[in-house]
Symmetry: C2
DNA sequence: TGTACATCAGTGAACGCGCGTTCACTGATGTAC
DNA sequence: TGTACATCAGTGAACGCGCGTTCACTGATGTAC
């Protein structure tokens, strides 16, 4: 049995707003930041720029966030909350009762591809921030491990379908490789070594094929 | 036939030194930068810090480099030169005449793991820099594609060993996945989703296993 | 072989730019009586 | 229902810190005669 994630009642790094009006300002500031992260790094986004895009002001920004980093932190925390809830729902053992690995994996990968595509800016920014900020690194790893644990649990319960000598290692490594490739191919971090341009569907297809082949799942699709 | 990389006669971004003495200073500055990148990001390394570690001075730094970025560029250019030469040698078709995929892949992966381990700081710094600097991105991609092309050529010449429906796509994607995992697992960029701690040998082993399984190479080892 | 001069190499304190952060002030909302 | 007051929300010009960059100066090396 895996312990479920304990949710904190409110975002810790945000000064809680007392009026609905400033709740909306907070919302707009976070959205503005995430929008700007779509095509530049966190360091290249200025506080004044965030405020302007949110139709707000620098002073309002600092009325909500202790400093610039706190805004990214709030965004990340909110994202993690969503992710935990989604993982609990999508990866619950009950949901996949009777399903084979060959059915679980494609569905999961297709979903992960979509999420990475939709929020690539945030993924990129958090990844970079985590390189030099232990706080982000920890939050990132905690979520990663949580998702990994749940997928591994689903796979491990079906280890008779796996022909890799050590199913536990296989599931873990397959997830690592999957998340690495998603981050680089869709987030466009890193080498981008490819000679052939791939669309998201094809990436999902090849990731699935690779995942199943590595585990040694027989193609019964 | 693939065109070989045309090498530029000298590093472009470095003011060429006239005396042996300053050539050594240049060397020490580059080494100091690479050393410092081992445990922090390029932005967190100060020019004064680089100079101090190289037993030099800030003024000397600027006598060699137009600006701070030029030092990282010089380091990257030098690295690329070495990498091109190594790829030409290690991936030459003649070298692997008569070898099966099952022999080529483990050797190549083991080597790549070692290189990523030895120069993880530089890999990380260049990866991050490439996110916001087109110049670095281009150099990075050019090298990545060069290596990818050569490996793919070796594999494609042995496509009878591959059971993946499209050997060209398979080889390309396998390389992308490989380089993504190397960057994240060894460079410790990103999620670090793993539940089980892996050593470099095991990473190499699982990468190899995954690579071959995805291509659909029959295990004749 | 020695001296004078030119060029290169090295030094680190001082400069200054960019951007995160502050703060004095105005406007809006809610509440007490 | 109206007025007074307290608190919250919002504004943007001004501040100031950190760090990349400059520059006036000293020392070292090479060359000409």
């Amino acid at each position: 049995v895996i312990a479920t994630h304990s949710r904190s009642p409110q975002l810790e790094w945000v000064r809680p707003p007392r009026q609905g009006r400033s709740q909306q300002t907070l919302e707009r500031l976070l959205q503005a930041l995430e929008d700007l992260l779509e095509d530049k790094g966190f360091d290249d986004v200025g506080v004044a720029e965030i405020a302007r895009r949110a139709r707000s002001s620098v002073g309002s920004f600092y009325a909500r966030f202790a400093d610039k980093t706190a805004a990214l932190r709030a965004l990340h925390e909110r994202f993690c909350e969503e992710a935990y809830a989604t993982a609990d729902d999508a990866l619950a053992p009950a949901r996949w009762q009777g399903a084979t690995i060959a059915r679980i994996v494609p569905a999961t990968i297709a979903f992960l591809v979509r999420v990475h595509r939709e929020r690539r800016g945030l993924f990129r920014a958090v990844t970079v921030q985590a390189l030099s900020d232990a706080d982000f690194k920890e939050r990132e790893q905690k979520l990663g491990r949580y998702v990994n644990e749940r997928v591994c649990a689903l796979l491990h319960a079906r280890s008779d379908e796996i022909s890799h000598p050590d199913p536990r290692i296989a599931a873990d490594f397959a997830m690592r490789q999957l998340s690495a490739t998603l981050l680089l191919e869709i987030g466009e971090i890193g080498w981008a070594v490819g000679l052939i341009p791939f669309g998201d569907e094809q990436i999902a297809a090849e990731l699935t094929c690779s995942f199943l082949a590595y585990l040694g799942v027989r193609d019964s699709d």
